[in-house]
C-alpha cells in the first residue's frame, strides 16, 4: 500500500467512525505500526490546514477525530438556518385528519384506517409540532397515543377541539346506504 492509499484509509476510518478514533484502531485498519501511523496522521493534519480544507483532524492524547474547521462554523449556521419549504403531502394531511378526529389514537389505529404503514407520516407531523404523544394506552404492549397540539389549534384558528367541524351525519348515512345497497345486490344474486 502506498502512502496515498494509507492516507485514504485513515481518512475513511476517521470519517466512518465519527467519534474520536484511537491510534491503535487506525494502525489495525492499516496493518502498520502505531508510530508510523501517528506520523502519517500528524502530517495529514498539517497539510489539510495548509490547504485550507473544510475538514480538519483534531488530536487528543492517543486519539484522532475528524471535524469541521473552525472557520467553517458560520457557513454551517447559515445552512441550518436556510428556510425550509415545508409541504403537507396528501399522506400527511390524511394522517392529520385521522388523528384530529379520532384522538387519542395509536399508530396502529391510523394504519388500520389508512390501510398503510403510517409511522413516517406520524413522525413527520410530530416534527412539525402538529401532533404529539398523549401518553400510553393501558393495553398489551402499552402503545403510544397521539393527539393534536396547541400549534394545531392555532394553525387552524380554533380555540379547542370542540370547534372542529362536526362529522357530517348525512354522509355517514350515505355510506351506510351505499353499503346496504351493495349488500342487497349481492343478496339478490
Amino acid at each position: 500500500m502506498d502512502r496515498r492509499q494509507q492516507e485514504a484509509v485513515i481518512e475513511a476510518v476517521l470519517f466512518a467512525m465519527g467519534d474520536s478514533v484511537e491510534l491503535g484502531k487506525l494502525a489495525e485498519a492499516l496493518g502498520e505500526e502505531k508510530e508510523t501511523v501517528r506520523q502519517i496522521v500528524v502530517e495529514m493534519k498539517k497539510r489539510w490546514e495548509q490547504e485550507g480544507r473544510g475538514i480538519a483532524i483534531a488530536e487528543f492524547e492517543d486519539s484522532f477525530q475528524m471535524c469541521t474547521r473552525g472557520e467553517m462554523y458560520e457557513y454551517l449556521v447559515r445552512v441550518a438556518k436556510t428556510p425550509r419549504k415545508y409541504v403537507l403531502t396528501d399522506s400527511l394531511m390524511e394522517t392529520l385528519s385521522i388523528i384530529a378526529y379520532k384522538q387519542p389514537v395509536t399508530r396502529l389505529d391510523v394504519e388500520r384506517i389508512r390501510g398503510v404503514n403510517s409511522d413516517h407520516a406520524v413522525n413527520r407531523l410530530i416534527e412539525l409540532e402538529l401532533v404529539m404523544e398523549l401518553g400510553r394506552m393501558d393495553a398489551p404492549g402499552r402503545p403510544l397515543l397521539f393527539g393534536t397540539t396547541e400549534q394545531f389549534l392555532r394553525s387552524f384558528g380554533v380555540k379547542s377541539l370542540e370547534e372542529l367541524p362536526r362529522l357530517n351525519e348525512g354522509k355517514w348515512e350515505e355510506f351506510k346506504q351505499e353499503a346496504e345497497e351493495e349488500a342487497n345486490l349481492s343478496l339478490q344474486v
Binding site: A12, F15, A16, G18, C67, T68, Y73, L76, V77, V79, A80, K81, T82, P83, R84, K85, Y86, V87, L88, M93, E94, L96, S97, I98, A100, Y101, R112, I113, R114, G115, L128, E129, Q151, R154, S155, F156, V158, L164, P165, R166, L167, N168, K171, F175, K176, A179, E180, E182, A183, N184, S186, L187
Partner: protein, 268 residues
C-alpha cells in the same frame, strides 16, 4: 441414490413466490418455450405441486388454486376449435398467460440485478450529523400558513370522512350488516318481544303473518332469526312443505295458560 435425487428435485412450495413463479420454474425445468407452453403437461405438473401443499396456509393456497383453474381453462380451450378475433386471426388461449409470465419474469430478473447493485452500494459507509451544538439544536421556524396551504378545517373533515369511507368500502357489506343489526337499525329485543307475543296469541301461523309490519329487509332477517331461536329452544315447531311453500309455525302447548315462550334476551 435415487432417493437422494428425489429429495433434491422436490422443492418446497414455500420457496415459490407465487403461482407465476412456480409456473416459470416448471417451464424452465421442462426446457420448453415460454411462447409455446405444452399446457397439458405443465398443468399436470402444476397440479402435482399443488397437491403437495394441502396443509399450507389457505391464503397462499387460494392464489395457487386460481392459477390452477386458469390452466385448466386454457387446457379446455386448447381442445376446442380456435377462436378467431375481429381481424380474423386465430387467438391462442395461452396468449394472456404468456404475457403475464413474461412481464413477471422481466421484473424478477431485474430484482436479481438490483440485488447485486445493493451488495456493491453497501460497501460505502455514511455517518450521522456532527454539528456544533448550536447548529444542531436550531430549528428553522415553520411557516404554518404556508405549510397548511389551502387546507381548511372543513377540508380536514372531508379528508377524514373519505378515509373512513374507504375503510368502510373494504368491509364485507353483508357481514357489516350483521354488525348493524345489534347496533341500531332494528331493535332486536323489541322484535323478539313482538314475535313471542304474536306467537303466544296465535298458536299457529304462517311466517308471512309475522312479517306484516316488518318494514325493511333487516326486519325480515331479524324476525327469521327470532323464529330460529325459538325453534332451538323448543318453543315452536316449524314446517315447510317445499322450498317455495309457506313456513308454518306452531307454538308448543306446555301449560294450560297458553304457550310457554321463553324470554329472549339477546341473539348477539
Amino acid at each position: 441414490m435415487g432417493c437422494k435425487l428425489e429429495m433434491a428435485i422436490e422443492i418446497k412450495l414455500a420457496a415459490f413466490e407465487g403461482p407465476l413463479d412456480l409456473l416459470l420454474h416448471l417451464i424452465e425445468k421442462n426446457k420448453v418455450d415460454i411462447y409455446d407452453i405444452p399446457i397439458s403437461e405443465i398443468t399436470e405438473q402444476y397440479l402435482d405441486y399443488i397437491r403437495q401443499m394441502e396443509a399450507q396456509d389457505m391464503n397462499v393456497m387460494s392464489e395457487f388454486l386460481v392459477m390452477a383453474a386458469t390452466l385448466l381453462d386454457i387446457k379446455c380451450r386448447m381442445l376446442l376449435p380456435k377462436e378467431v378475433d375481429e381481424d380474423g386471426e386465430e387467438e391462442d388461449p395461452r396468449a394472456e398467460l404468456v404475457a403475464k409470465l413474461l412481464e413477471y419474469k422481466a421484473y424478477k430478473y431485474m430484482s436479481y440485478e438490483l440485488k447485486d447493485m445493493q451488495t456493491d452500494a453497501g460497501r460505502a459507509f455514511y455517518k450521522g450529523p456532527t454539528l456544533p451544538q448550536e447548529v444542531a439544536s436550531y430549528r428553522a421556524p415553520v411557516d404554518y400558513e404556508e405549510l397548511l396551504g389551502g387546507l381548511t378545517l372543513p377540508g380536514l373533515r372531508g379528508l377524514f370522512e373519505s378515509c373512513m369511507k374507504r375503510q368502510e368500502d373494504k368491509v364485507d357489506p353483508i357481514r357489516s350488516r350483521f354488525g348493524r343489526i345489534e347496533k341500531d337499525e332494528v331493535n332486536i329485543d323489541e322484535k323478539a318481544k313482538y314475535v313471542t307475543g304474536y306467537i303466544r296469541t296465535h298458536s299457529r301461523m304462517n311466517f308471512r303473518e309475522l312479517l306484516e309490519n316488518a318494514g325493511s329487509r333487516m326486519d325480515v332477517i331479524v324476525t327469521f332469526l327470532v323464529v330460529l331461536e325459538l325453534m332451538k329452544t323448543g318453543a315452536v315447531s316449524v314446517e315447510q312443505e317445499g322450498i317455495e311453500a309457506d313456513i308454518i309455525i306452531t307454538a308448543r302447548q306446555t301449560s294450560e295458560e297458553g304457550t310457554d315462550v321463553p324470554e329472549l334476551t339477546s341473539l348477539g
